[in-house]
């Protein structure tokens, strides 16, 4: 009885701890769990789509439900799975890689997470309240503005709220990387993952506001009677497409760049070599980020922008292949002459190269504006972007999770199960998506609820569905691995991979202040530099002293909760003005919490030298 009570209290305390935490490592856990959950939901939606397309004229799900399915699959995977999983890695790793004790704004870090989560929950609540959004993840007007019911309203509110969280996260990491680096960690000594996060954060900062505006216009049109996209009153539906893609194209680089960074770290670690052409890699990352803003209209070649605009955007798009190619070659030459250890993390990374190269190649093909008149909005495009997003982002997430799992949780994911998960996923991935290129060219447009008999599309679709099941099997094995590892695996040291960068110089998982003493960085791959001189760890840059840490707070949760409540108010005030009460309540909670934050001084707290010494002794005793 008493133990059960104690356990309950323990659980309650843990939940409260996570609700209020501002520790980047715990926020990483939150992002991982939430992102993983949405990844499974998005995956389930993908399976339903593939079952529907298993045979011609199938009626497994209805046409309306199918459109909801594809919309939610895309939206969930991009905004609620890939983004937060990337944020999980960013939070878990970046402060450690630059020798910082936390991010620049721990409070905002927590706020960013809760905004994302509540935004994601809003989106998914729509399933239970009369229908999910059904105008595609691109939500083109006027299909979206005339879409009946409240589905698209949920899309607008959910993405607006979670988008605000992402924007906050982006600014936070920019400042963290500029201001919080340890002594000696110059820009050109930063690990590639940190560099990639830096560029990604800049992309987030400059791309998301365009989506914010697009969503506001959509919200005004749907909820408050404005006529931005209503051609009858002089509106123009193409504005949405531009705003969406001005955001949307950088978004795909926001997704892939951090994983490019992770691959760089992984290839280097498991080849026991420093990254080949480090400065070229940095340059390529920055260039990709920069060019990413110049090419949005290549999603709109068939809109009728005219041959001049189409040609300019075509050539600009092709240019991105150059820095991407630089990266592929530098990764291969990192392995060249190395001592390649084929761990699960490395396996995913190695598999990434051919998969992503194919995705990149079809990307160049799509960039050829005129040829895109054939590819556009067909399964060719579906094949292409799954090759880059699954072959790049998802492979990257699996690789990075295997690589940094010990740093996050103190245990190495089981290698055998890791490889066992890899093979069905890898084979299934190619089965599912390679054939889709051909389906597209054979005349199958994307977002088709059914394809008809006698159009030569049966075999391809069946193969694709079989592949999807293999991918599902791989995912399940990975989940089994996570459970198995947390139950069975033993704790490991701080440096299980013979690592090269700063995060491997501290215990796994790190103490909540990360570094007892801030390390002194003396070169690229700082830990490797010390190891190659025969030292065991980093040289401290400061004497042992009190450490200043931020205070936990429930306010980020409350601010986000307020917007969550207000979101429902906005959605339903269209039906009945009484719902405005929710808007006032919610906004009151949000603004009140913000005011509290502003009025109450929060200076953080100090961890005293004596406690640090105690921790050190405990660490030595282990």
């Amino acid at each position: 009885m008493s133990t059960a009570l104690a356990q309950n209290r323990g659980l309650g305390a843990m939940i409260w701890d996570y609700l209020t935490t501002v520790d980047h490592k715990k926020i990483a856990h939150l992002y991982l769990v939430a992102g993983g959950f949405f990844f499974l939901i998005g995956g389930l939606e993908a399976m339903l789509i593939r079952i529907q397309l298993m045979k011609p004229d199938n009626d497994f799900i209805s046409a309306g439900l199918y459109n909801e399915m594809i919309t939610m699959h895309g939206t969930t995977m991009i905004f609620l799975a890939a983004m937060p999983l990337i944020f999980a890695l960013m939070n878990a790793v970046v402060p450690l890689q630059i020798g910082a004790r936390d991010v620049a704004f721990p409070f905002l870090n927590s706020l960013g997470f809760w905004l994302f989560l509540f935004g994601g929950v809003i989106l998914n609540v729509s399933w239970f309240t009369g229908g999910a959004p059904d105008a595609g993840w691109t939500n083109y007007a006027p299909l979206s503005t005339v879409s009946p019911g409240h589905g698209v309203d949920y899309y607008v509110m959910g993405l607006q709220i979670s988008g605000a969280g992402t924007l906050i996260g982006g600014i936070n990491f920019l400042v963290t990387i500029v201001n919080m680096r340890a002594p000696g960690m110059t820009y050109m000594r930063m690990p590639l993952f940190t560099w990639a996060v830096f560029v990604t954060s800049a992309l987030i900062l400059f791309a998301f506001p365009a989506l914010t505006v697009g969503l506001f216009l959509m919200m005004f049109d749907r909820m408050f009677g404005s006529v931005f996209f209503d051609t009858a009153a002089g509106g123009n539906a193409i504005i949405w497409e531009h705003l969406f893609w001005i955001f949307g194209h950088p978004e795909v680089y926001i997704l892939i760049l951090p994983l490019f960074g992770a691959f760089s770290d992984i290839f280097s670690t498991f080849s026991k070599k420093r990254l080949f052409g480090y400065s070229a890699m940095v340059f390529a990352t920055v260039l990709i980020g920069f060019l990413g803003f110049m090419v949005w209209a290549h999603h709109m070649f068939t809109v009728g922008m005219g041959p001049i605009a189409n040609s300019i955007f075509a050539v600009a798009t092709m240019a991105i292949a150059v820095p991407t190619g630089i990266k592929i070659f530098n990764w291969m030459f990192t392995m060249w002459g190395g001592n390649i250890k084929m761990t699960a993390a490395m396996l995913w990374s190695v598999a990434f190269i051919p998969s992503f190269t194919i995705g990149g190649m079809t990307g160049v093909m799509l960039a050829a504006a005129a040829a895109d008149y054939q590819y556009h909005d067909t399964y060719f495009v579906v094949g292409h972007f799954h090759y880059v997003i699954v072959g790049g982002v998802v492979f990257g997430l699996f690789a990075a999770l295997h690589y940094w799992w010990p740093k996050m949780f103190g245990k190495v994911l089981n290698e055998k199960l890791g490889k066992l998960a890899f093979w069905p996923f890898f084979i299934g991935f190619h089965l599912t998506f390679f054939i889709q290129h051909f389906l597209g060219l054979m005349g199958m447009p994307r977002r088709y609820w059914v394809f008809l008999e006698g159009q030569g599309l049966e075999a391809g679709n069946l193969i694709s569905t079989i592949g999807a099941f293999l991918m599902a099997i791989g995912t399940v094995i990975f989940l089994v691995n996570v459970v198995y590892t947390s139950v069975k695996a033993k704790k490991v040291s701080g440096d299980p991979w013979d690592g090269r960068t700063l995060e491997w110089s501290i215990p796994s998982p790190p103490p909540h202040y990360n570094f007892t003493q801030t390390p002194l960085v003396r070169g690229l791959d700082p830990l490797w530099v010390e190891k190659s001189e025969g030292k065991k760890g980093m040289t401290p840059a400061e004497p042992l002293g009190d450490i200043h840490m931020p205070n936990a707070s429930i306010l980020p949760f409350l601010i986000s909760l307020g917007l969550f409540i207000a979101g429902f108010g906005f959605i339903y005030q269209v039906d009945n003005k009484a719902w405005l009460i929710l808007v006032f309540l919610g906004m009151g909670l949000t603004l009140g919490s913000m005011l509290t934050r502003s009025l109450k001084d929060d200076l953080g707290h100090h961890i005293h030298k004596e406690e640090l010494e105690k921790d050190l002794e405990k660490g030595a005793g282990e």
Binding site: I171, N179, V227, G235, N236
Partner: protein, 207 residues
């Protein structure tokens, strides 16, 4: 740096807003934030420019806008930007009272601006029946100018909150960055208005 040093510094440095790591972080983050805000307003301007001739046979920019009122509003906001510079000048000289005074004047000017803007909107709605819903031009106009007005309102609330919260305890290393970035925000609002004045009103009247 201990809490005491931050809240009651023995000697204020010359740039109190950037004396602590937190201050430096805030300063940098706010510049980044303004970068994002620039994209936000650029998108709104783009939308406005795409739709400002789509009047659906209703009111056009030419028959609506009166430059006199807008000119007064511009002067008010420009002056308020200048007075917030004075406030920051006094902050750097650690003269809290004068800083509060100039911030007060800034707030007063901002309120006057906002009053005129509300008057302008009410005028359009009642005299011309020109609303958010009348045409794509109407939607774009009220959204762009309204977003700016919302920023002004938020800035006013922010500065007033800071003034009241710190009125008793004076300047320290904890609140100096807060005052500083609030004034940055105010300048940004001012710059956006200059563009609105040019793109919406002048070009609307001339073009």
């Amino acid at each position: 740096m201990s809490h005491d040093d931050v809240l009651n510094p023995k000697q204020m440095p010359h740039d109190p807003e950037k004396a602590t790591l937190e201050g430096k972080n805030k300063f940098l983050a706010f510049w980044f934030f303004l970068g994002g805000e620039t994209v936000l307003f650029a998108s709104l301007f783009g939308t406005y420019l795409a739709l400002n001739r789509s009047t659906a046979g209703e009111n056009t920019p030419e028959n609506l806008f009166g430059l006199e009122l807008v000119f007064i509003m511009t002067m008010l906001l420009l002056t308020s930007s200048l007075t917030s510079v004075y406030a920051m000048y006094h902050m750097k000289n650690h003269d809290f009272k004068k800083m509060q005074l100039w911030l007060g004047i800034t707030v007063a000017l901002g309120l006057a601006f906002l009053g005129f803007e509300i008057y302008e909107f009410v005028h359009y709605i009642h005299e011309y029946e020109f609303t958010f819903r009348s045409s794509a031009f109407g939607s774009a106009f009220y959204t762009l100018v309204g977003f700016h007005g919302g920023h002004v309102l938020f800035g006013l609330c922010w500065i007033v909150t800071l003034m009241i919260r710190n009125s008793k305890r004076g300047l320290n290393l904890y609140n100096a960055p807060k005052f500083y970035i609030a004034s940055l925000y105010w300048h940004f609002i001012d710059v956006v208005w200059v563009f609105i004045f040019t793109v919406v009103y002048l070009m609307g009247k001339v073009g």
